[in-house]
Symmetry: C2
């Protein structure tokens, strides 16, 4: 194989597919990316059997062929080469030579034959949304997946298509995050659970432009994302997702409208007094026009008043401050509405059209 491509194109392509390279594995071939120039286009592929990414790059193919190469070292070399044309040549023993200006690297590659290609997915129906929307939806929900493996379904996100609406849901047993997107085209109903890892990695690759589109295909076992010149294929998490609708309610006894930035800054200050792993709740005391927040720990205590607009009853309720911070950070609105029932019932943060809903369970506290 002999190919020539620009440093910028190669670095971008290798950066994209590297997201599917596992950090730990017992199979060295999985730590590789495949450079495939057997046809008339240069394709880079990485595949850890759960998540696979393939992308095409521009370049000049002087001699067809393919090779697998350790992803980490190849990415580092490409990134540090001068901003110029890079020549990659391999011999019959899979020895690879990378030349760029006066620098020359000789690296041992592996035969491309050992490499697992991406599964072939039959593309039937497509769901298309903008890269911007997909990236936002992931950012606004990914924080509330569970990172433990004891309940596999909690490590993924529900992608549910029903009546022309895509609903993305994540939950970890203490809170639920929901985002709804109106789809532009008619589409069959689907209900699948996408691994959180896939969504985190794809979110790093998406350009996030509102004009660029992502096409999604679903099968019984896989989801495929296609955008720009990249294809991402991920296995799905098997099983029946939690029945979300039973947990949602639109009843409330207290409604609070509050400036999001003030609320967030205040909780942020309060958590200074709480060490990580320490489960001190922040106590919220809702009165007329004013909400008092307070927290107490071994280091001292803090309290602060924030102006609010209130409807309904007064209420005192406690929360894990981290859960409030996580939700408030990803909401783009300047003001948010909190809907509360009583000190034992969940708090809902949502907008009027319910394009987002954050449910947070309260915690017990000793009124000080």
């Amino acid at each position: 194989m002999k190919i020539i491509c620009s440093k910028a194109d190669l670095a971008k392509g290798v950066g994209i597919v590297s997201k599917a390279v596992p950090s730990k594995t017992t199979m060295p071939i999985l730590e590789c990316i495949l450079i495939d120039a057997t046809l008339d286009i240069i394709r880079l592929t990485a595949n850890d059997m759960e998540l696979g990414i393939q992308t095409e790059i521009d370049g000049d193919i002087r001699e067809h062929g393919m090779i697998a190469i350790d992803a980490k070292i190849f990415l580092e070399i490409v990134r540090k080469l001068p901003d110029s044309d890079i020549v990659i040549e391999t011999d019959e023993k899979d020895q690879m030579t990378i030349t760029c200006e006066k620098a020359k690297f000789d690296i041992m590659g592996r035969s491309g034959d050992d490499f697992s290609y991406l599964p072939v997915i039959e593309k039937t129906e497509t769901v298309t949304i903008s890269q911007f929307t997909l990236k936002e939806v992931i950012r606004q929900t990914i924080f509330s997946i569970a990172d433990n493996e004891s309940n596999k379904l909690m490590t993924g996100e529900l992608f549910e298509i029903k009546d022309g609406v895509l609903r993305v849901v994540s939950l970890d047993g203490h809170r639920i995050s929901i985002r709804k997107i109106e789809l532009k085209e008619e589409c069959q109903d689907h209900k699948i659970v996408v691994p959180g890892k896939t969504l985190m990695e794809i979110s790093k690759i998406l350009s996030g432009e509102a004009e660029s589109q992502v096409s999604m295909y679903f099968t019984g076992n896989h989801i495929v994302f296609e955008f720009d010149r990249t294809v991402v294929v991920s296995r799905l998490i098997e099983g029946e997702y939690f029945k979300i609708d039973q947990m949602l309610s639109s009843d409330y006894e207290t409604k609070v409208r509050i400036n999001k930035r003030d609320f967030l800054n205040c909780i942020d200050r309060a958590t200074l007094l709480v060490k990580e792993g320490d489960k001190k709740p922040i106590i919220i005391n809702i009165g007329d026009d004013v909400m008092e927040l307070r927290i107490k720990s071994q280091f001292g205590s803090m309290n602060e008043d924030i102006m609010i607009t209130k409807e309904g009853k007064d209420l005192m309720i406690g929360f894990n401050p981290k859960f409030l911070i996580d939700a408030l950070r990803v909401i783009d609105d300047e003001e948010v509405d909190l809907y509360l029932m009583n000190a034992k019932a969940p708090c809902f943060i949502k907008d009027e059209t319910e394009s987002y809903i954050y449910l947070i369970l309260p915690v017990n506290f000793n009124a000080i």
Copy 2:
């Protein structure tokens, strides 16, 4: 005590003195900073008995007094408060209340009486240099102190004043870094060893402006730095420093002039093939007009040619690439001169006036 000062002033002052707060200590009082408003100025002090820092801040003293407070938590609180006036009040039980707009923190302080003041140093003769120069000199030498404690003197830097020149030296057994500064004023000769930690911390506090001055005083056991409204007092390292002049030589058989950026980038690329802790040398082969660099490791090999101007003999020599990188990174010149004798003798990188000298010992290698 009751004082009022701006968030910006307080955050800056606490940030400065916090540099003298040890991260680990068995004496809780050392983790505190002292807020002293017993006189007509607000002074902040931290002192870990080796290094002490005191700074003055503007503010309104409503009630004289002083208090010691945990530095870490106090710094975090001050930083996260709104950009407004901060009121600090203490009661007779050393309970401290910090109020800023609607936020109020109650924190337990400690009696200021337990706090160790900075040692009183008699200021006799002063050496004055600009903040810019001191910051540069530290940056250009600090990387070659040794971080192990087996030879205490190697963890510090020699500050030697002789014939109106300040010479700053660090060494770790494999290399020596030397910077020389012509002093503007006449001054007695001095020879002291300043702890590396002191220099690292002071370098973070210095504004680095060429117009601002630092005054230095020396005693048998201490060095004092005074700048802006801050005083830094540090213990010295005791003992006789290494005899540097015996290790320096101006003889050479080969002189190479090379573009610093090209040289640095090339070594940087070469080290991609070397894992941390792996002691692979970079081999430099000096010929007429061209210098070849090459490195070989378990991952593969790399070589690159760089154009040079050479005087004297051809030479092949090996180095720990890190030592070359460290020295080249801190040199500001576009081109550097290397002076070499043979494959077993040290390499000198220095400018014509010897305002800087970097000595690096070569390493053995197997010519490939």
